[in-house]
Amino acid sequence: MTAFWVLAPVMVAAALGLLFVRKAVHAALLLATVMMSLAVLYLVLEAPFLFAVQIIVYTGAILMLFLFVLMLIGAESRLSLVETIKGQRVLAVLGGLVLGSLLVIAIGQVTLASPVGLEAANSGGNVEGLADVLFSTYVFAFEATAALLITAALGAMVLAHPERLTPKESQQEMAARRVREYAEHGRHLGPLPAPGVYARHNSVATPALAPDGSVIEASINRTLVPPRPADEPDLPELAADEDEEGPQ
Amino acid sequence: MSVLTVLILIPLLGAALTVLVPRVAGDPRAIAKMVALGTSLVTLAAALAMAAQYNVGSGMQFTEQRDWIPSLGIHYAVGVDGLGLVMVLLTAFLVPVVIAASWHDADDRNTAAYFALMLALQGLAIGVFSATDVFLFYVLFEATLIPAYFLIGGYGIASRPERARAAVKFLIFMLAGGLVMLAAVIGLYVLTARAGEPTYLIAELSALGISGEAGRWLFVGFFFAFAVKAPLFPVHTWLPDTTAAATPGTSVLLVCVLDKIGTYGMLRFCLELFPEASLWATPLVVVLALISIVYGAFLAIGQENMLRLIGLTSLSHFGFIVLGIFVFNLQGGTGAVLYMVNHGLATAALFLVAGYLIRRRGSALIRDFGGVEKVAPVMAGMLLIGALATAGLPGLSTFISEFLVLVAAFAYAWWAGAIAVTGIVLAAIYVLWMYQRMMTGPVRPATEGFADLSRRELSAVVPLVVALVVFGFFPKPLTDVINPAVEDTLVHVEDSTDPMSLGGAE
């Protein structure tokens, strides 16, 4: 019980922190805190396998995936906590309180018998016990999760992986082209400017600034630039977005 | 296969033919019209042949009963008694008349579809009047809305948006009524399923003698639908809007045939299935009917548009019909049924002549006419006969029915008769004032060139007028057929509500 009473406040605090932190990375770390604490509770609740899985898979893999994406789209940006939808926050908190109290009251009213405990079930080892259930009762569901994973992989490929449609330019061809372009159009021959990652933010999506303070569009990866309708001139005013939410 | 099934199928097949045939031959419009007219005449002939076989006073005839959805107790069951027979005949009679009269009404639009829709409407209407299964009745009842909707929305004389609006209004009103009735139809299923075997056959349902609170609710469901259809105050407002927007031919089918389904339904379903509830509701229904009579007449007086006017006269007349049905005596019942027929004839005549006028003038506003009698005396004469029939002039068949209803209402309660009787004065005012404003006075420049009725136009109206006069002096063929049917219904109501028969008071 000690573990519970120690961890529970930590978890609740961390969870609440999730609502208030201004940086997405901090949110991820707070979530990690909750998850790790949860892992410990699993241990207390006689679920050693889940303890491991929670740490390895949930915290170690899933949350890392979050972090990857976070880094990709601007981990350092400060998130605005100003509510833009009228009444949303009040209603959300109110709704949360009502739902929370309903849940707590309803659950609190239930008098559970003293726990059976898992000594019997875990007698042959927790992992074996789980395997037993998993491969007997839930074998079909287990198989079905395969479909989920394939779907996920397929989805990631479809949405995140641009297929190469034209044969890749060889180094030689590229060099020839760039020189030709320089000759014909005067296009800059050297490498593209680096993004503003180290200058202002941690995201590669941040454009570098020229000495005069103007944005250097070419410094951002092409795939990260939003499409611009042909009739719209030049770059969006990224600098002015500083205080807006979202990674810069 | 019953002759009724044939009667339902002929127009429906004719409708299909009307649309399809013109694609293979010469002038598509003319052929479509000919096919449509031919079909309707065949239908009429078949209906008359059936009437000749009809055996007065021996209940449902030409019956046919097949399982449709057996698990739900739903049958394809048709048959007619006197009540159904006259309505089927009226339907069969009016359609060729309307087709002949609206020969050129759809020339600038999809002609074939216009006449096909009319035929479809006819087939479905005949089905409605001959259905002896509540579910079948309901299905056809609602199905009639579709051709009607397209007829109103697609071919009206009003401007497109107005027509469309009217069509939507019509359909929504009808659906509102119909869906409320659906709840009651469902109630019947639940009731009979509980009682054992689910059934929708009228005969079996009426034998159940549904009473009590359930009966009242179901009655309300059915009555509401019929009141919207009929229409009755205060759910009548779709009527003038619709008649003002639709072609007069469509209006005839709507007001003279389709709306009769409402009053027919009251007699056939409300009274037969829920006799106790019908008696329970009588005071309210009578009051509504009286309001409709007077209110409709006053509204008609105040109209500027003759099609609206004619539509509103029907409100008044449906008040009479409902009054006749709900005073529960033979005169009232027979009068009401007779009224349905006569109103069909008279109003059809009015609408058709109005249609002729509108075709010539391009307007339905009363003030746009004047002095027509001078240039087109025959047309004026026909309008006058229709108008006088609407006003219930003795010697025309409408008088008999109106008088029977009045007598019945008076017998029910003197005040009911006294209020209803004011309708005859108001009727004289609205029809004659319309006639005065449109047909008399000096000839207006706009009406100067009016041609009198052509042979085709005349041939469409004359049968109506002849029928009005003949039945005005000799209604026996109708009353003989109607009387036994109404009597059966009334006896049923009496039996089912007689406390003695319900359990023996002593």
Partner: protein, 531 residues
Amino acid sequence: MNEFTIPEIAYLELLPLLIVFGGAIVGVGVEAFVGRSARRTVEIALTSATLVAALVACIWVGGRLPVVEHGGTATARGLLTAGDTLAIDGPTVFLWGLVLLISLAGVLLFAERKVSAGLPAFAGQAAATPGSRAEREADALGLEHTEVYPLMLFAVAGMMMFPAANDLLVMFVALEVLSLPLYLLTGLARRRRMLSQEAAMKYFLLGAFASGFFLYGAALTYGYAGSMKFAQINEAVRNSEGNGLLLLGIGLLCVGLLFKVGAVPFHQWTPDVYQGAPTAVTAWMAAGTKVAAIGALLRLLHVAFGSAAWSWQPMLWVIALATMAAGAVLAIAQTDVKRMLAYSSIAHAGFMLAGVLGFQSAADLAPGQLSATQAVLFYLVAYGFAVLAAFALVGLVRDASGEVTELARWAGIGKESPLLAGAFAFLLLAMAGIPLTSGFIGKWAVFSVAGAAGAWPIVVAGVLFSVVAAFFYVRVIMLMFFTEPTGTAAVVRPSWATTAAISAGVAVTVVLGVLPGPVLELAAHAGEFLR
């Protein structure tokens, strides 16, 4: 202690499901190994073949389901398998067949390329930023994400598994198997990709949110019953007092399912997703998801919580009422055909819920009386085909930039294309519940079971909201037929595939309207859920 018992799995009865899973996996393989040029053809053929094979298997399975006497009077047919976590019973097979048929039509719609000048409805390069050069390149090459076909099959598998699930955990897995491909498919539109992606994101976030509730409900129910198997939950419900855990469990589980059904107030994703998704996906999804979700809801409420019907029925009254009302009322103000149909699907969800809450125990039903299951199954058939065909028709009204879904521009298309407008009008009338269409019989059926269960206020409200709903259907018909054409939208002639799908939808709507007997009998033959 831990004696592992090899679970008995009725592979034969699971055959339809296995075929679909197998087909999906083979489809993924095709992506990897078949050249780009042939891929599309192979995928379409494979998917269709899979679905047909599954359908055949389904029919075969349906024919050999054993009859199980239970509960005294009511009969059910079927068996429980895979550790009792799947129920292959009459309703399951019925729903399987329905899902497969709908999906077969869906494939036909997916395969349509003719309407947009040879381009498919799906993005050529979903990873390319909308409006970018990469996108244009992909378009120029006529690329297509053939992954949609395996994705679709996965979703179909989920849809089939969902109503068959006889265990909360399996139901949850099925929910996800069904949902994930849909999230993806939603975001794959070729045109208006921003909208499509937005729809995908909304669908995904809300779906995940809702499945969280489902899961918590499952947890609490597990806490109450000690098991997640429906039979044992039912046992627990019957044998012990209901308590907070059970009630919260029922509530939260319902939330998850009602979200998928699109019931108010969990409906708000529906219009956005229906509008944003490629129309072919919308057509198939609107039909298929509803079938699966309602099937699952039926099983959950009738099997697991049937003994506590008194406790959840009032809640469902409220939801059904709100759903009918909001769906019907909100549709009126819509100016986009797809959104309007989406709201109409919400209203229909309300009507279906009226059928669901018409649950009566076998003892309360007269012999031969329509049961809630039957009614809802029928409604699903009627609605599924109608909505599929309707959305398919929406995809045919186009201009140079793609589909035209603004209602105002549909004005007068009845004049130019009476066939399309006529078919659409007919389907709308079916949705409005006009007799001689399947929609009418469906409405009749669900209202009659609701009425039989004493929910007369719901019936009356349903009837009234049907009128409101009819208003906007009728208005569209009016717009198509009685308004001057604007000339800004044209009806394109589709390939045989789409034509076939639409014809099938219309034909089912007609046939079920005129002769609903066989399908009702089939639903009756399917019997009740196996407990």
